[in-house]
Symmetry: C2
Subunit: 228 residues, 2 copies
Amino acid sequence: MATETLPVLAILGGTGELGTGLARRWAQAGYRVIIGSRTRDKAAAAAADLQAVMDQRGVAAVAVEGMDNLAAASAADIAALTVPFSHQTSTLEQVAAALQGKILIDVTVPLVPPRVARVQLPAAGSAGQIAQELLGEGVAVVSAFQNVAAAHLQESAAVDCDVLVCGNSKEARAEVIKLVQAAGMRGFHAGMINNAAAAEALTSVLIVINKQYNCHAGIKISGLESHG
Amino acid sequence: MATETLPVLAILGGTGELGTGLARRWAQAGYRVIIGSRTRDKAAAAAADLQAVMDQRGVAAVAVEGMDNLAAASAADIAALTVPFSHQTSTLEQVAAALQGKILIDVTVPLVPPRVARVQLPAAGSAGQIAQELLGEGVAVVSAFQNVAAAHLQESAAVDCDVLVCGNSKEARAEVIKLVQAAGMRGFHAGMINNAAAAEALTSVLIVINKQYNCHAGIKISGLESHG
């Protein structure tokens, strides 16, 4: 009996701390990971840096590559988007055709600098809805990971943070929840893509809390015991 | 040396499960609590029911009264609002003058039936902002308690849920955090009143999770350890 083939993952705009943190977690879990960036050189450099860290830890069997965003989106079965809000639309426009029939994990948080500690959701409701509208129904947009501190992904310990997973396709959400678990966290079906607003807004609240406690806060869902 | 006098608390629209749950927790903590409702009779009945439960537990020294909303708002130092979203504006218009110079704890969640599991924030951004705009700068609106299951407040155990406390006045937020603690929970300064959107949106997400797990879910802030 053949084991399930793992999907190939691309992380578009994946050279930052959050993108490489996800790449690292997923590569360690055995996934083939492609880091995408605006230029192939920048992506390749980030992939090489990550590979060096992995080699140092004796996780040599994994493959992390760098490509430009379009090539990465084309090569992937599932793509994640980890760019600043101001680059969300332009990046998605570039890769929209390559994503048809696939899952896009939107990690965009609609922060409006300089007031990133203030919730300022877009008129569309959320960045997740912007992505779904732009890509059309041929792409299953699933929002996730907005409340995970990149710093924790870069550590080796389990991440003490739950992930709210929103999207209009239950099957696509289930696929992303597998990836949340592969990255060392619990993922929750959190409703349709409109509900991305909750996780996106929460990021500003966590920024407020981080300042007070000098920490990288997250959230955990409590009270899961059935009340019969 | 005199001990600090506790503020008198009113819970406007407080005859429901959430309102009486807060009343019970605060009365048990020694506060004088007034349950407000559209009619004095309905409020008095809810207060009498609650007093009977308290007597049964031997917490006889506390005072829970019932008044109509306007009388309750006038008599209180701090008022909480626990009405459905559709009654938020009409209730606040009725008590606006009586609340000047005071703190209003807005517990309104802008759910839009029948799709309460879908985030549908108001054009103003949040119910908290609607309250602050309606009441004006003479009232310190602080949003809180949107993610606490009423069922848990009605139990005697500690509540395993954190409370996000948003408002434009830091001092008012600090007063409300004291009341969160008195009700058996941790409260967090979560930013300006705009950030109420995060807690309000999260309620729909928790409704989604409650359906899956047959539970009364809440959130806890994680990762509070300083990263030095």
